[in-house]
Subunit: 330 residues, 2 copies
């Protein structure tokens, strides 16, 4: 459980993709962010007000968020003075990097002295039980993908937002570091020990009232040879009533791989329904979202319309069309 | 990589199921074991010669193996004097418990002094990369199951043994703590961080000569709601050419669960072929092994014969019938 509001640290980032964490929270929860803190040489922005650590503290910032990633997930020594300054200003520190804040003795000592927490989102500290598959009350929707990075988090947040506007009792359940930052809670499911994937997923969407929907952020893809195990464990623990399948146009190969074409939507529907039926035999596909950014608006409309006719499901680009037609189909 | 021979420690075990580690290695690799060491009150035996730690050291024991499990996987304080005595006699210590040997400062200090290793098999220390699914040379067989604990390790070892007798170039690849102890190497795959399941599995059966078979010990079951993620990641990383499906008769529910009947063999074949085809489109089922211990020899023969006709595959109880018919079908 993270304490808002956040001061988002961009370091000296020069690559727009490297500040996904910062942009995610700035886009989806600007009210959680008092501002951004950038070092000399930083050419990127999350479009938040620039401010110093002291200014942010005055404005009530409770958490200093490392809003970037780098190759290897290293915590650079040059950032330590800034992290320390944030601790001295009473802030918790959140990192989604592979390197752990708690491995830096000087940070551990200082945060203890100032009663601040060091939160390594990618390294869950909870103990989980193994999964059971026993039916829980309430309703659940899981986003799944033809590939990694096809908009599962975006689709999940768009669904939560649209459902809330429709007066539905709904919660977004974060399963990745970026989602956790946006939701202020959740779990980086791919960082859990393999034996406990579905058990951990079960804790993420506990029993709830019959009218309540959990919108669970999917991870990976059942068709991705690196991450399908995570996707399946998350799916079984989530026991979804509804799936929304996410896809991106214009990819010649699955993310991070060569010579591995994306599966078709039809195959993805069959594969995911078969797998999900293990813990929820009544699971259905509620719709399909497509990242159409690689084609024109007109082409996007045509592609979605044709796919919708072919598959008999709502098919939308959540950015261009919104997700109301999927909500209507639940 | 564990150093044989082993002295197998049974503690004060009184439950035959609790000494699975000890029995596994004593059954499959008696030549690796100089003997067993039991405390007062121990009523179980791995059928190895009883001896003291000093006697075992004289006979050349290089590793002291905690050959038992208990509820919660705790390392009991009362065992520490015995573990220390083994270290003082120059032995490495191997534990498959959840508690870590390396969390006991006194053991860390003593083992360092005596140049011995503390090996927590359930806590891999290697760093893995994420999987790729890229085709490796050589051939691979993976055992899979309708459930957990249906004889996947036994079947794998029986296959390795029979294939070796048939003059085939073959290696058993251990993926569980018990298998690791028997093979002297391997990896407890369910203890790897979820993101790296298939990447870790890829390292277990590296490129090999075209005639070489890896027999990879399966884990869990694609139909088990707790462990299917592990099973799928292991499967994708193993990219098996052949699957052998393992099953146990007479179970009313899947292991550890209530009201969850085992899937049919037909369904299990389809589910596993579909999943394995992601990293090996040419995968085939080579045969089925069944633990028939709950029925008579005559009933077992009849059940296997009928299933074999129905499914068009060799179907055997490896204990009662051996696995030659499956080897012939490869």
């Amino acid at each position: 459980m993270l304490q808002a509001p956040y001061l988002v640290f961009l370091g000296d980032a020069t690559d727009p993709l490297s500040i996904k964490m910062a942009k995610g929270v700035a886009t989806w929860k600007p009210a959680l962010c008092v501002g951004q803190y950038r070092l000399d040489g930083c050419t990127e922005s999350a479009n938040l007000p620039d401010m110093s650590i002291a200014e942010a503290a005055e404005k009530g910032a409770k958490t200093f968020v490392l809003g970037f990633a780098n190759s290897g997930g290293k915590i650079d020594e040059s950032w330590l003075p800034h992290i320390k300054e944030a601790i001295e200003n009473g802030m918790d520190i959140v990192s989604g990097l592979h390197d752990k804040l708690i491995d830096f003795q000087e940070l551990v000592a200082l945060s203890s002295q100032h009663h601040c927490k060091l939160i390594d989102i990618r390294h869950p500290t909870e103990k989980f039980a193994t999964g059971t598959g026993y039916k829980r009350s309430g309703k659940r929707l899981l986003t799944v993908g033809t590939d990694c990075s096809v908009g599962k988090m975006y689709t999940s947040l768009a669904l939560e937002s649209a459902m809330r506007e429709n007066g539905i009792n709904v919660d977004f359940r974060a399963t990745g570091q970026c989602g956790v930052l946006i939701a202020g809670k959740g779990l980086a499911i791919d960082c859990v020990v393999a034996d406990f994937i579905s058990g951990a997923a079960e804790t993420l969407s506990p029993n709830n009232t019959a009218d309540h929907w959990d919108i669970i952020e999917g991870q990976g893809s059942l068709s991705h040879p690196a991450f399908a195990g995570v996707s399946l464990g998350l799916m079984h623990g989530s026991q979804p009533d509804a799936l929304v399948i996410c896809h991106a146009l214009g990819r010649s190969s699955m993310r991070g791989l060569t010579d591995r074409p994306l599966p078709t939507l039809k195959h993805t529907i069959e594969l995911n329904l078969a797998a999900a039926s293990i813990t929820n035999p009544d699971v259905k596909v509620a719709g399909i979202t497509i990242n159409t950014s690689s084609v024109s608006e007109q082409q996007a409309n045509e592609i979605c319309r044709n796919l919708s006719q072919e598959l008999g499901l709502p098919v939308v680009d959540p950015l261009r069309h919104g997700v109301q037609s999927i909500v209507d189909n639940l």
